[in-house]
C-alpha cells in the first residue's frame, strides 16, 4: 500500500528516539584507545635509566615524512644525544616503531595534545643524552 513505507520509516525513527543516544560526551567522558592504537611516540628507558635508543638511524630512514631527528654522540656512535619528534608532520603511520630493531620506541595512549602553538608539537624524547618524557601525559 502506498504510504506503508513512510509509516515504517516513522516507526523506525521513533523507536530510535525512545532508545538510548549513542553520543559520547567527549570532553566529559574519555574513551581509552585500544592497546595498539597509534598516538604519540615515546621512548623506552633501560634498567640504568638511559634511553633504549642505539642511534642506528633505522627509524629516520624508514619515516616517510621526515618527522624524526637524531643527533649522535660524536664520541659514541651508539648513543643518541638528542632525539626530536616533530609531531606536527607525523601521519602516525607507525613505521618508526615497527622498524626499530631495539624496540626503543612505543606509542603512548595519549591523544590530547591539541595546541595553538606549532612549536609545542615538536618534542624531545632524548635531550642531552637523557630520556625526557615531557610530551607524555599520564591519565589515571
Amino acid at each position: 500500500m502506498f504510504g506503508s513505507g513512510l509509516l515504517k520509516g516513522l516507526g523506525i525513527t521513533l523507536r530510535h528516539a525512545l532508545g538510548r543516544p549513542v553520543t559520547e560526551l567527549y570532553p566529559f567522558e574519555h574513551k581509552n584507545p585500544p592497546a595498539n592504537s597509534r598516538t604519540f611516540i615515546a621512548m623506552h628507558v633501560n634498567e640504568e635509566g638511559a634511553p633504549a635508543c642505539r642511534a642506528c638511524n633505522t627509524c629516520i630512514v624508514g619515516c616517510p615524512d621526515r618527522v624524526l631527528k637524531l643527533v649522535k654522540d660524536p664520541d659514541d656512535p651508539k648513543r643518541a644525544v638528542e632525539f626530536v619528534v616533530n609531531s606536527g608532520r607525523c601521519t602516525y603511520c607507525g613505521l618508526c616503531v615497527e622498524n626499530c630493531p631495539f624496540d626503543a620506541l612505543y606509542f603512548t595512549q595519549d591523544y590530547e595534545r591539541a595546541t595553538r602553538d606549532k612549536g609545542a608539537l615538536i618534542y624531545h624524547l632524548i635531550e642531552d643524552g637523557a630520556c625526557t618524557h615531557e610530551g607524555e601525559v599520564d591519565r589515571p
Binding site: G5, I12, P64
Partner: protein
C-alpha cells in the same frame, strides 16, 4: 578559465550557468560542477576537478616501496584497505613476493569490511543529498563507528590504517576479536541493514525521486568507462572478484549483486545488497580462517626487478587499477592509480543532460564520488 561552451536550447530563453561547488553541501568534498541550466533542467554539465590534488603519484616516486603504502591510505579515504591491497598486490607481483595464506584471508576480511563502511558512507551521503535531514546518515554512522572500532583495535588507527605490508599484514587478529566481529556482522548488523533499506529503498518519496531517473544501459556505461556497482545495477555481471579472483575470493561462496533496471533506485538496491553480501562473506572468512604466519620476510630496501605491472582490483566504487613501474631501485619509477571514480565521473557530461537539478544529486549518489581518489 575553464573551457565551457554553452550549448543553449533552441526555441528557449537564455540558459543560465550554475556553478555547483567547489563549496557546496552536496558535492562530497571539493567537486565543481558547471551546469548549464534552462529553468531547472540541465542542458549540459562539466565536472571540474583538481581541488584536492596532492600529487600523491609524484610523492610516491620519492619514497621507498614500503613507505608508499602510507600514501595509498590517503587516495580514497573511505576505502583505505582496498587501496592498500591494490598497491601491495601490484608490488608483490612485480617483486615476486609470496604472501602467507593467513595474511590473504585477513586482507580479504578487512577489505570486505571496508566495502561495508564505504557503502555506509555512500548511504549516508545519498540520503543526505535527497533531503533526509541526517537521520539515516547517523544510523549508518553508528554501524560504521562500530566497525571502525574493530579497525582501531586491529590496525591501531581508525581511518588511516597503514596495516598491509609488502608480503602480508602488520598485525594479526586474535580469535576473540574475530568472534566479536562475527557476532556483530552476523547478528546485529543485518538488522540495521533492514532499517537502512526501509528508510531508503522502502520509502515512497525516495522511490518517486529515484525510479526511472538516470536509466542507462550496460552497453552505454561500459562505453563511458563506468565500473563497479553503478554498472552492475544495469545488469552487467562484471565483478573482478569473480572474473579475476584474487585474495581468497575463489574460496568464498558469494554472488555478484546485480539489478537489471539500471535506474538510480537499482543502484541503491545493488549497494545495499552488496553490504549484506559483504557481511555474509566476512562471516565465511572468519569461519574459514587458517592459522599460520601473517607476514613474509621482505627486505626493507626492496628492489623489484625492472618492469611494470598493472593490477586490477574491485574497490567499493569500481575497478581500481594500480600500475607500478620499477627501474630496479628502492623507489618506484611510476606509481599510477587508475581510479574508478575518476572515469565514472568523466561519464557525468553524458549522464546529466535532460535531468533536473535535483536529479543531479541522485545520479551523483549513484556513482558514489570520493574526491580523494579522483584528484589524487
Amino acid at each position: 578559465m575553464v573551457n565551457f561552451p554553452r550549448k543553449g536550447v533552441e526555441g528557449s530563453t537564455e540558459t543560465m550557468l550554475l556553478n555547483v561547488g567547489p563549496q557546496h553541501p552536496s558535492t562530497h568534498g571539493v567537486l565543481h560542477m558547471m551546469c548549464e541550466i534552462s529553468g531547472e533542467t540541465i542542458v549540459s554539465a562539466k565536472p571540474v576537478i583538481g581541488y584536492l590534488h596532492r600529487g600523491i603519484e609524484k610523492l610516491a616516486e620519492s619514497r621507498t616501496w614500503q613507505q608508499d603504502i602510507v600514501l595509498t591510505d590517503r587516495l580514497d579515504y573511505v576505502a583505505q584497505f582496498s587501496n592498500e591491497w591494490a598497491y601491495c598486490r601490484a608490488v608483490e607481483r612485480l617483486a615476486g613476493i609470496e604472501v602467507p595464506e593467513r595474511a590473504e584471508w585477513l586482507r580479504t576480511l578487512l577489505v570486505e569490511m571496508n566495502r561495508i563502511t564505504s557503502h555506509l558512507i555512500w548511504y549516508a551521503g545519498v540520503t543526505m543529498d535527497i533531503g533526509a535531514l541526517g537521520t539515516p546518515f547517523i544510523y549508518a554512522w553508528v554501524a560504521r563507528e562500530r566497525i571502525f572500532d574493530f579497525y582501531e583495535a586491529v590496525t591501531g588507527a581508525r581511518v588511516m590504517p597503514n596495516w598491509m605490508r609488502l608480503g602480508g599484514v602488520h598485525t594479526d587478529i586474535d580469535s576473540a576479536m574475530l568472534k566479536e566481529m562475527r557476532d556483530f556482522l552476523e547478528r546485529d548488523f543485518p538488522v540495521e541493514v533492514d532499517e537502512y533499506e526501509a528508510l531508503l529503498v522502502g520509502n515512497e518519496i525516495v522511490q518517486s525521486r529515484m525510479k526511472g531517473i538516470g536509466v542507462f544501459s550496460a552497453e552505454q556505461l561500459v562505453e563511458w568507462g563506468v565500473t563497479g556497482p553503478a554498472l552492475r545495477a544495469s545488469g552487467s555481471e562484471r565483478d573482478l572478484r569473480k572474473d579475476v579472483p584474487y585474495g581468497v575470493y575463489d574460496r568464498l561462496d558469494f554472488r555478484v549483486c546485480t539489478d537489471d533496471v539500471g535506474d538510480s533506485l537499482a543502484r541503491c538496491r545493488v549497494r545495499l545488497a552488496e553490504i549484506r553480501e559483504s557481511a555474509r562473506m566476512c562471516v565465511q572468512i572468519i569461519d574459514g580462517m587458517p592459522g599460520g604466519d601473517v607476514r613474509a620476510k621482505v627486505s626493507r630496501a626492496l628492489k623489484p626487478p625492472v618492469g611494470d605491472v598493472c593490477v586490477r582490483t574491485e574497490s567499493p566504487r569500481g575497478e581500481l587499477g594500480v600500475l607500478v613501474a620499477s627501474d630496479g631501485t628502492t623507489k618506484p619509477l611510476r606509481f599510477r592509480v587508475r581510479s574508478p571514480i575518476f572515469y565514472n565521473l568523466s561519464a557525468m557530461p553524458h549522464m546529466l543532460p535532460n535531468h533536473l537539478l535535483a536529479d543531479m544529486l541522485v545520479i551523483f549518489g549513484g556513482i558514489d564520488t570520493s574526491m580523494g581518489e579522483i584528484d589524487r
